[in-house]
């Protein structure tokens, strides 16, 4: 085995292979930085070129690209609060607050060194594990995978913030949203309102952008400052590396989590970062800083999402079953260069497998190195006044959302989810809990249904299930202890200081709770329109959630002072003093989307740029035109080169326009 390993290294570093690896890394970095363009877009861009290339160069290039995307997607997550890809959504939670504190460089370098560590760890695990993985992967059937989704869900307790009941309701809302679209058992459409777009459910990319990015963008616009509130950018890259060393065990544990979740086909790469984040919270004594700029909250997801790629390669290579979306494209690439994955990858093709592993390790080093060097400079973006940045941000998130299904519905969904995100934030419903529910819903329902079909309810006595159940109990115990401690801390002492809120102050949140109750009631009604097998899951969630909503409503109507359930950022929180309401910018955004619908993305976005920069940023005419030309030019060229559509409107349907106005 060792000789094969080193022979593989030898052939990788000789000849032009390293150059191709470098090219792949470079492309991966550029694509990863751009939200909405993840491994899938990058790989499909490469596929035409690898056709006819020799095996090692082709593989090196593909792996180079896949390996560094979870590294470079951190830039937008930390600096702008926009999840760079669905694998780094959790990084936003603490990375972005750190950037706001002026510690962007520290957060980035901690993230990149954690990524490097995770990536190398993933490659190391792959080296040994690939030889013995087959029986282990076969041991995880539907029943075990269902239990794993439950384990993931138990993290919600940790993510719930200061009100467990709100955390549960947010999670339930996510679960209900996750059932939208075709049901796994019967193929019936749930919660689709007869709209074609909703029949596939809302894409995760759109959810992530709407729930996290839009509320942040609008918040920053209302504050009208730069992202970094501090005037100096403290803490350079050394600080970040030191952070990693301080939390090395956390990084190690999260890398292990990343490998395991990545290696299990069926859970999907987008859960990894959340599970790692939840784990970091559960194992940290003082949790107050999470969500406000805790460096652990950056290290954990980043270590896990790079390690995931190593793990995800295992089922891809051994079974030909992709462990994540980008692995599906990688698999297509392997087939195009004439490699058939399967048991022979650890037999006659072992040298190819080790080439892949070495490429993975080298790519991680190159990628993280390049990002570390860049982070110091890129962090300065956070000092630019936000009104100048905003049009670019909005341009990018619209583009990113549209790449989900290339349908105008993506933009409408983005707006809708964005409003939901703003309201959840305002009323203190934890958004991470919502997203975890959303991510896990389909797997949970599907695996439960399959497990019951295969073994009946006796699946609960399978040994693997019992082991995971034990882990689940531990996790719930920790979560429960945490919640109990939180309520002790806040409860009594707050009551003395805070006056009893008046009913009119409470009105908006009571109203919101009622609306959410109506949503669950509709979910229940909708569940009874489909057959039994597709009904059970959404109906049970809705019933439990209606009960919880009832309790919440009761407590809110009682208006007890200091009850953590009372939260309204607009009435009694930090946003109360801001000059413009959030609806102001929602209207701007809605106008843009209406514009896209009427005249297409290129024209609408150009107009938006000009009007916004002139009116909101009060930029000069010259500056406005230069910025608009840069932004739009970049976008148009990018979409042309990558054969990506931009939204077209009614105008383009009615008359044919010259390029680029016809884009589509």
């Amino acid at each position: 085995m060792l000789d094969v390993m080193f022979a593989a290294l030898g052939s990788l570093v000789s000849g032009p292979h390293l150059l191709y690896l470098g090219l792949g890394v470079l492309l991966g970095l550029c694509i990863g930085i751009f939200p909405g363009l993840g491994g899938i877009a990058g790989l499909s861009l490469l596929l035409p070129f690898i056709y006819g290339m020799d095996t090692i160069s082709g593989l090196a290039m593909l792996i180079g690209l896949v390996a560094v995307i979870p590294t470079s997607d951190t830039f937008t997550s930390v600096l702008m609060g926009i999840p760079g890809s669905s694998g780094s959504q959790a990084t936003v939670l603490d990375g972005f607050p750190l950037a706001k504190k002026g510690q962007a460089a520290r957060a980035l370098s901690a993230a990149f060194s954690a990524s490097l560590f995770g990536g190398l760890f993933g490659a190391a695990v792959l080296t040994l594990f690939v030889l013995i993985a087959r029986p282990i992967i076969l041991a995880f059937g539907s029943a075990e995978l269902f239990m794993l989704t439950l384990l993931g869900l138990s993290m919600v307790g940790g993510l719930a913030g200061n009100s467990l009941i709100k955390g549960l309701c947010a999670c339930g809302l996510g679960l209900l949203f996750g059932t939208m679209g075709g049901a796994p058992a019967t193929g019936e459409f749930r919660l689709s309102f007869g709209i074609d777009y909703l029949m596939d459910g809302i894409p995760l990319v759109v959810m992530g952008l709407g729930i996290f990015a839009i509320p942040e963008i609008i918040d920053l616009l209302r504050r009208n400052t730069a992202i970094a509130e501090a005037s100096t950018l403290g803490g350079g890259w050394v600080a970040g590396v030191r952070d990693l060393f301080q939390h090395k065990w956390l990084a190690l544990r999260c890398a292990v989590i990343g490998c395991i979740v990545g290696a299990l086909p069926g859970l999907g790469g987008s859960v990894v970062d959340w599970i790692a984040y939840g784990h970091a919270m559960q194992t940290t004594k003082s949790k107050e800083n999470f969500g406000k700029g805790e460096i652990r909250g950056v290290i954990a997801p980043e270590a896990s999402n790079n390690a995931k790629e190593g793990g995800a390669l295992i089922p891809t290579l051994l079974f030909g079953i992709p462990g994540s979306g980008s692995m599906a494209v990688f698999l297509g690439g392997m087939i195009l260069i004439g490699l058939e994955p399967g048991p022979n990858m650890v037999g006659s093709n072992l040298d190819v497998t080790y080439t892949i592993i070495w490429s993975l390790a080298l790519a991680n080093v190159l990628g993280a190195g390049a990002c570390l060097l860049l982070s110091r400079w890129v962090a300065r973006l956070t000092t630019i006044p936000y009104t100048l940045m905003a049009p670019f941000m909005i341009m990018v998130i619209c583009f990113a959302a549209f790449q989900a299904t290339r349908n105008l519905g993506d933009l409408v969904a983005l707006l809708g989810v964005g409003v939901l995100g703003i309201l959840l934030k305002r009323f203190g419903w934890p958004r991470p809990a919502f997203l975890i529910g959303f991510v896990l819903a389909s797997g949970m329902e599907n695996y439960l249904y399959q497990a019951v079909q295969f073994d009946g309810w006796s699946f609960l006595t399978k040994p693997g299930v019992l082991i995971i159940a034990a882990l689940l109990v531990v996790s719930v115990f920790f979560a429960g202890r945490h919640v109990a401690r939180m309520s002790r801390q806040i409860g009594p002492q707050a009551e003395d200081v805070v006056a009893k809120p008046s009913l009119s102050d409470m009105l908006p949140q009571i109203l919101f709770t009622c609306v959410m109750g109506a949503v669950f009631a509709y979910g229940l009604y909708d569940a009874f329109q489909v057959m039994y097998l597709s009904r059970v899951f959404p109906a049970s969630i809705s019933i439990v959630m209606l009960t919880l909503i009832g309790i919440m409503l009761y407590r809110q109507l009682r208006c007890r002072a200091g009850d953590p359930i009372n939260q309204d950022a607009e009435r009694n929180g930090e946003n109360a003093a801001l000059p413009v309401g959030f609806y102001h910018y929602i209207l701007w955004f809605a106008g843009l989307i209406l514009g896209c619908y009427l005249v297409g993305y290129v024209i609408a976005m150009t107009l938006f740029f000009v009007v916004f920069l002139l009116l909101k940023a009060r930029a000069s005419l010259l500056r406005t035109s230069v910025l608009t030309a840069c932004g739009m030019g970049f976008m148009i060229i990018l979409s042309h080169v990558m054969v990506l559509d931009l939204p077209t409107g009614l105008l383009q349907q009615a008359v044919s326009l010259p390029w680029p106005l016809d884009n589509g």
Partner: protein, 359 residues
């Protein structure tokens, strides 16, 4: 230089009257960009198939145009097909790659499928076969022994009743097998479930069967029962040359029922078999594309398949079967749309009764 020659040739044609053949000139794609819509995400079977062919066809078409793959996912290929149908140009610059489900939705009358594949013009089609195999625990060693299973419920992993799995589901019912399908599992998830022992009957299309199930057969962990067969030139079912030792479905039907299949159900099965397997992936041009362009495309596909080394390359990427080329693709295409209204009602009724599918 090339442009000049083309220019001279063009003026010659104009000068010497209209009687000469225009076919070589009408379809020159120099400097053009052809968009090939694939109605799935990057990385799946149809995507890999299109990406395998796109450089080959690009080299062979006159003028060597760039061919780019445009993935339009959603609705299990419905979105991409709707988009191509509504907006695809008929000048040969927009092509579409369909798979079984694209045609199934339309054949079954799914309301979301607003496209009319009947009007599209097929260029070539790529066939595949399929093999049904059982778990050795069932104690059945060949198709002849299937009767032993008539009182036993078999668990079968399936993506959904209106997917490609319609063909095996209907076939197994016609053989009198009692099937409990577990939905929501694609073919590779199904194979994994079979290896775990969660299901005891499964099928794979030819390429994955050969590469991933044959080793299981050799280890004694799977028992091959039958292939679906292939469609002969005379329209009858024949043994699949990739699996000459396995009886095909019609043979097995005869073994069990003592007579050749000739019912409405069998004819419907055969039509869906053609759309799902015998002509699984089809490259389409838009309705109303001029005949010269269609001929140019069809000729390009014929030349691609003739290239030395094509078969070896193709066997890994897309399977071992001969491509359906030239006029043959019209024959297969006509079969696909041969269902009468009663046939459509029959299959809708069957799907509704068995699996609660609503139309």
């Amino acid at each position: 230089m090339k442009k000049i020659i083309v220019g001279i040739a063009a003026s010659l044609t104009l000068g010497f009257g209209l009687g000469t053949s225009q076919s070589t000139l009408a379809a020159d794609f120099s400097g053009e960009r052809i968009e090939w819509i694939v109605p799935f995400k990057e990385g799946g079977g149809t995507d890999t198939w299109a990406r395998f062919f796109s450089p080959l066809i690009s080299e062979t078409l006159p003028g060597q145009p760039t061919i780019v793959i445009k993935n339009v996912p959603g609705g299990g290929s419905i979105n991409g097909a709707n988009q191509f149908d509504a907006r695809g140009d008929n000048n040969g610059l927009d092509v579409f790659g369909s798979t079984a489900s694209t045609l199934f939705y339309s054949m079954l009358g799914d309301k979301r499928a607003r496209y009319q594949p009947r009007d599209w013009i097929p260029v070539f089609a790529t066939p595949t076969g399929g093999v049904l195999y059982l778990s050795p625990d069932l104690g059945v060693n060949s198709a002849a022994e299937l009767v032993k299973l008539q009182d036993q419920e078999l668990t079968f992993p399936s993506l959904g009743p209106t997917s490609l799995d319609l063909v095996p589901l209907l076939a197994m019912e016609m053989l009198g097998l009692k099937i409990k399908p577990v939905f929501g599992m694609d073919r590779s998830a199904g194979r994994l479930a079979f290896e775990r022992g969660e299901v005891n009957v499964d099928y794979q299309t030819s390429a994955p069967y050969i590469k991933k199930v044959t080793p299981l057969v050799e280890e004694g962990k799977a028992v091959p029962i039958m292939s679906w067969g292939i469609l002969g030139e005379d329209g009858t079912m024949q043994r699949d040359p990739s699996f000459p030792d396995l009886p095909h479905f019609a043979e097995v039907y005869e073994m069990i029922h003592g007579e050749k299949p000739d019912s409405q159900a069998y004819n419907i099965w055969k039509t869906f078999f053609v759309a799902g397997f015998a002509a699984q992936k089809i490259m389409f041009l838009q309705e109303g594309t001029p005949q010269e362009i269609v001929d140019t495309y069809r000729q390009a596909a014929i030349e691609v398949a003739k290239q030395p080394g094509f078969k070896e390359k193709a066997s890994i990427a897309i399977g071992d079967y001969d491509q359906i080329l030239g006029k043959n693709v019209d024959t297969a295409f006509k079969m696909i749309f041969s269902l009468s209204d009663e046939d459509t009602q029959w299959i809708q009724h069957w799907l509704n009764e068995r699996y609660g599918v609503r139309f």
